[in-house]
Symmetry: C2
Subunit: 239 residues, 2 copies
């Protein structure tokens, strides 16, 4: 079929369940399936020309990954994340990712560093084009994951990947804060330079600040959007 694997598509053909899960995950991350949308088993099944069983299994998997929420007898929805959720996700990232970077830096090769550099260049060129928001998110994850790749910590990486996925559909929102993106880009270059100098402590510290700043700016952007979207139908009482 035309369902191909996202990463490392090797000879072992993956199950339909995994293929459907990958496709849905991708659509949710890109925002093609918007927040609050219901994921109807039958619609997805007919859309991908599979039966409902792989769809149901894929939904269970995405639920366990934290990407969607399954409400008993009412199906699966893409949950709207509160500013507190965003804060929590970035807080988790700021704890886990520097630890992995610490283990990875001493083992990074020159090829890894130049590969990360290439990603950063693409990053800059894509940043101008407004229709490539999802490409930006993908490149952002690529840059980070290259830096972590030598740590050889699969369980860390599985969690980090899931946490990144959960929030990534909001990077579209984050792009509106252009000054924030410029800062993020500068921080990326600085982090890469510190990795090149094998300055583990400084690189990890900057990475933590980088994640924390990104989380704060996204949280603020989300709060702005939410309050703006509410055209004050009721009392204007807020915490």
């Amino acid at each position: 079929m035309h369902l191909d694997a996202a990463s490392g598509s090797a000879i072992p053909r993956q199950s339909l369940t995994s293929a459907v899960a990958d496709k849905l995950r991708d659509q949710i991350i890109r925002g093609e399936i918007p927040e609050g949308a219901q994921l109807r088993q039958d619609a997805i099944a007919t859309q991908y020309h599979v039966s409902r069983i792989p769809v149901r299994e894929a939904l269970r998997q995405l639920d366990a990954e934290g990407l969607i929420a399954i409400v008993p007898n009412r199906g699966a929805i893409v949950p709207a994340l509160s500013p507190d959720d965003i804060e929590e996700l970035f807080s988790i990232r700021s704890l886990l990712e520097p630890e992995v970077l610490k283990l990875s830096i001493p083992l990074l090769t020159e090829e890894d560093l130049s590969e990360a550099d290439v990603v950063l260049r693409k990053y800059v060129s894509e940043l101008r084009r407004e229709d490539h928001v999802s490409a930006w998110g993908r490149l952002n994850w690529q840059f980070h994951s290259i830096l972590y790749s030598r740590a050889n910590q699969p369980r860390f990486m599985a969690i980090i990947r899931n946490v990144n996925n959960s929030g990534e559909r909001y990077t579209r929102l984050q792009l509106y804060l252009t000054h924030g993106m410029k800062r993020a880009n500068e921080e990326h270059h600085q982090i890469l330079e510190l990795c090149r100098q094998r300055d583990v402590a400084a690189a990890c510290k900057l990475l933590r600040l980088h994640i924390q700043y990104a989380g704060e700016s996204l949280k603020k952007a989300l709060e702005q959007k939410r309050t703006a979207a509410q055209v004050d139908p009721n009392n204007g009482d807020h915490p």
Copy 2:
């Protein structure tokens, strides 16, 4: 509130998938389903008097939680964890749990603290009885989760719960091969006392050391057992 409703049917309507997943998770954690065991859909289905559909969905969910591994076309198995896996799991715990404790301590009530104290007492009495190893694991998790309960960080807790689950079937090993349980118990009392004094920094620091020590001792115990098993392959893991 802190107890998962696993006994009987406390919650009126739960999906069969969730029920099967809970039951299997429990059996894996307790070691009733041993490491390396294959989880056959048909056997599980007939055992619980359900069809294979909820079983398959439950297996997908447990796979996403990291508890089991699904090998394409060869079904699901309970993976054997390497000493490096153990190290990684406890490393993740030592990063996440102190952060949650930090947020929870200021909000802990006197009832929470006395509840944790009750758990510690049960803990001591169960420690003597060798047939209550799984009860020990359950009480250990109860103690920790009570201390974290006021942080109100659901995503942290979901990850922490999964990571704890993944390694918990080895606590049985830890009980037999190390004398660290006494130390763990003392550390628990000290942590609880520091929480009572609202000494956030000291409590979090001790918690981190507590987790790191538990991880190191378990890793060593596992390495001993593995090398012993190589010399004497027909030596099971029974007391």
